[in-house]
């Protein structure tokens, strides 16, 4: 601010007036002293006082020198014989003049130095205060709005302007608004349209700031990436001193630190929350599956017991057998619902490991054969060992669901076949499950994998289920990065389900 005043016309006029006033004042007092007959040393001292005051009240070193020389001439002009001339009768006055000038010079130098250090000290204090206030507030801030609010508040106060701040979101995209400080109690939110473009320009930045139409934008560099920008109005920015620029930089630095700290703690909290939720969910699923399985095994065991106690021709045998079948169906539904809940959390972490295809196939076939001993399943697979990264339990569930579906639509002497082969491009393994039932109607084909879709063309009964099985297959296969589709067989009537699994681990493994 001081540097600015020094060069303004108004400032110079003020200084001239001040100098003239003080020096004439000193001369007037000198006349008074001369009139009353005081020794002229008093007059010299009065001039020195005036010079000192000029040096103190104006801040220029030059003004001090200037006024000390003028003062000497004034003394010479008014108070030494011959009066009102610049000549002097008594040569000893020359010494008085020289000493007076020197003293005046030294006094004014000291005064202006003292003045300057006082100003410096005040400025330093203001800087320290600004930085201190900022860091102090930033330590307390526990969200982005607070950080931005404090930052622009302190910067505005320090620079005497209306600073603003635009934040970038965690993923790096800029917000579509920025906050601007208007007054001590008012900060406004302003929309911005070209935020992305500005960010792009900022990224190319080679200088400390970017010059826009309304603001100079200073980037806030975090530990890893740019976190946002501080916007200083052009008028202020153009007149900032190097000291102010330096301080602004260090304030932005503090803001960056605070933002980084906040982001890190947010991340930490989030991951802790997720872990807790994950554990909670796992426990819940475990409890549910446990609590459902226990009574189911009671029902199944007891009905088995009754079947065993009664002969095959006993009507009670059939009743118990019906209970057993339904309980069994309920059991597979429970398994499916549990897999689905796991999948639908949206963040299924697959327990993917390279698995031997034959083992997974065998697991599914064993389970199905136990349930439907009267069905024969034809298997074909390549002679070489196929290892495919997968969550074995989930893929087994897919195979069980598809085989179960095939069996439900096929008579016991029908043709149910499952085959596995490598796709021609060798990137996928192709699984095919075919039955010799009546096939899938054109009406059903597009909806097969929808949740709770039950055939429109067939009579709904317990055997057809509520259509969860295929939905789960779809979800599991997609989570593996594979594809699944259904069609009708060409060689004969019947349906054929085909799904593929990538042979290699892929980068995008999570369910989106």
């Amino acid at each position: 601010m001081s540097e600015k005043k020094k060069f303004s016309v108004k400032g110079i006029v003020q200084r001239v007036i001040l100098t003239v006033l003080l020096l004439s004042g000193a001369s007037a007092i000198g006349y008074f002293f001369g009139w009353t007959g005081f020794p002229e040393t008093n007059i010299v001292i009065t001039y020195l006082l005036a010079v000192h005051m000029i040096a103190w009240l104006t801040d220029g070193f030059l003004w001090g020198i200037f006024s000390s020389i003028i003062a000497t001439f004034l003394f010479n002009y008014f108070f030494t014989e011959p009066y009102l001339t610049f000549s002097v009768n008594d040569p000893s006055y020359i010494i008085t003049f020289v000493i007076m000038t020197i003293v005046a010079l030294i006094t004014s130098t000291i005064a202006s130095h003292a003045k300057k250090s006082a100003v410096d000290a005040r400025q330093k204090e203001a800087e320290t205060k600004a930085v201190y206030n900022l860091t102090n507030h930033l330590t307390d801030a526990d969200n982005m709005q607070d950080i931005v609010g404090f930052a622009i508040g302190e910067i505005s106060e320090y620079l005497g302007c209306q600073a603003a701040c635009l934040c970038f979101q965690e993923n790096g995209t800029p917000e579509d608004f920025f906050m601007q400080h208007r007054s001590d109690h008012k900060q406004i939110r302003r929309e911005i349209e070209d935020a992305k473009e500005i960010k792009h320009r900022m990224e190319q930045l080679r200088t400390g700031y970017e010059i826009g139409s309304e603001f100079y934008d200073w980037p806030i560099y975090g530990y890893e990436k740019m976190l946002g920008m501080v916007r200083i109005p052009i008028k202020t920015a153009q007149t900032m001193s190097t000291a102010q620029t330096r301080l602004l930089r260090s304030m932005i630095e503090s803001v960056a630190l605070a933002m980084d700290r906040l982001r890190a703690s947010e991340l930490h909290n989030r991951s802790r929350e997720e872990t807790v939720q994950e554990r909670y969910r796992a426990n819940l699923l475990r409890a549910i599956s446990h609590d459902l399985r226990t009574p189911l095994s009671g029902i199944m065991g007891t009905s088995e017991m009754i079947m065993d106690m009664s002969g095959q021709d006993d009507p009670r045998y059939n009743l118990a057998s019906a209970i057993h079948k339904d309980a069994d169906w309920l059991h597979s539904l429970v398994e499916n619902i549990l897999s689905l809940t796991r999948l639908q959390e949206g963040k299924l972490i697959l327990n993917k490991q390279p698995e031997a295809v034959e083992e997974v196939l065998a697991g599914a076939i064993e389970r199905i054969s136990k349930q439907w001993p009267e069905y024969e399943i034809d298997v074909s697979m390549p002679d070489e060992l196929l290892m495919i990264p997968m969550d074995a339990k989930l893929i087994r569930q897919v195979l069980i669901n598809l085989l179960d579906n095939a069996i439900k639509h096929t008579l016991p002497d029908g043709d149910i076949r499952i085959s596995v082969e490598k796709a021609e491009n060798l990137h996928f393994a192709v699984f095919k499950i075919a039955d010799s039932g009546s096939g899938i109607s054109q009406e059903d084909l597009p909806h097969l994998f929808q949740m709770f879709y039950t055939s429109r063309t067939q009579i709904v009964d317990a055997k057809h289920g509520i259509g969860l099985g295929l939905t789960i297959c779809d979800a599991i296969i997609k989570a593996h990065g594979g594809t699944i589709e259904a069609k009708n067989r060409i060689d004969r009537t019947g349906a054929e389900f085909t799904f593929t699994l990538p042979m290699e681990v892929q980068m995008h493994e999570q369910l989106s």
Partner: protein, 232 residues
């Protein structure tokens, strides 16, 4: 020896399932006693002659896992875990702690009796220490002392690794061996968890002994847990 001489301890807190298990045991003429807490079970084990234990993991006082750990401190009686917990890790943990078998609820009486029969046979085998002679399952025979394997009376060429895998399975016939237990036994401690190598070895062996590896007759995969050589 008839089943009647075998005393089975049924540790189960759910009355329905207990009823059903006991009924099945009675039908097969086993003797049995029941316990519905871990404490109960341990005191029965100490005070009575128990041959086989059926153990539910979710007991009201202690976890069944602790029971396995405790029992294994002094006894190697066959323990068949019967549990509604189906996490692979828990199955493997129970087996690694020393359980002989693991049955997930719901299960059928046939399944349960099959597992108990395997355990009973183990009791007999254990008595004779018949580990040096020939062992046979279906058409598959292994001669431990001569290191020879026969399939349908024809000598079968197996690599030394395949032989040690097969003999390990034969020594634990009917029992589920966890992947980590097999790795430790065949490759030795410190080999780490190279399940891939085991899978490849198993695939090779299966191609020699099974007609269709996807419908195995001899070696059954317990997905996520381990392998079992069938015992019938």
């Amino acid at each position: 020896m008839s089943n009647y001489h075998k005393n089975i301890l049924v540790v189960e807190d759910d009355p329905q399932i207990k009823n059903f298990i006991c009924y099945s045991l009675k039908q097969a003429e086993f003797r049995y006693i029941t316990a519905h807490t871990a404490q109960d079970a341990l005191s029965h084990l100490i005070s009575e002659q128990i041959d086989i234990m059926l153990l539910d993991l979710g007991l009201p006082d202690f976890d069944g896992m602790d029971v396995i750990k405790k029992v294994r401190e002094w006894s190697d009686l066959p323990i068949i875990v019967v549990s509604a917990r189906d996490q692979d890790s828990e199955k493997a943990a129970a087996l690694d702690l020393g359980a002989d078998d693991y049955l997930t609820k719901p299960f059928s009486a046939t399944e349960l009796m099959a597992r108990i029969r395997v355990a009973v046979r183990h009791l007999h085998m254990h008595g004779k220490e018949n580990q040096q002679g020939a062992l046979t399952v279906g058409g598959l025979t292994i001669e431990m002392d001569k290191h020879l394997v026969y399939l349908d009376n024809k000598e079968l060429h197996v690599t030394p690794m395949e032989y040690s895998l097969l003999s390990l399975l034969f020594k634990n016939i009917g029992k589920v061996l966890t992947t980590s237990a097999i790795l430790k036994e065949i490759w030795g401690v410190g080999y780490g968890n190279d399940t891939q190598a085991l899978r490849a070895l198993m695939a090779g062996l299966r191609r020699k002994i099974e007609k269709n590896p996807a419908k195995p007759r001899y070696i059954i995969t317990e997905i996520g847990v381990g392998y079992r050589l069938v015992d019938e």
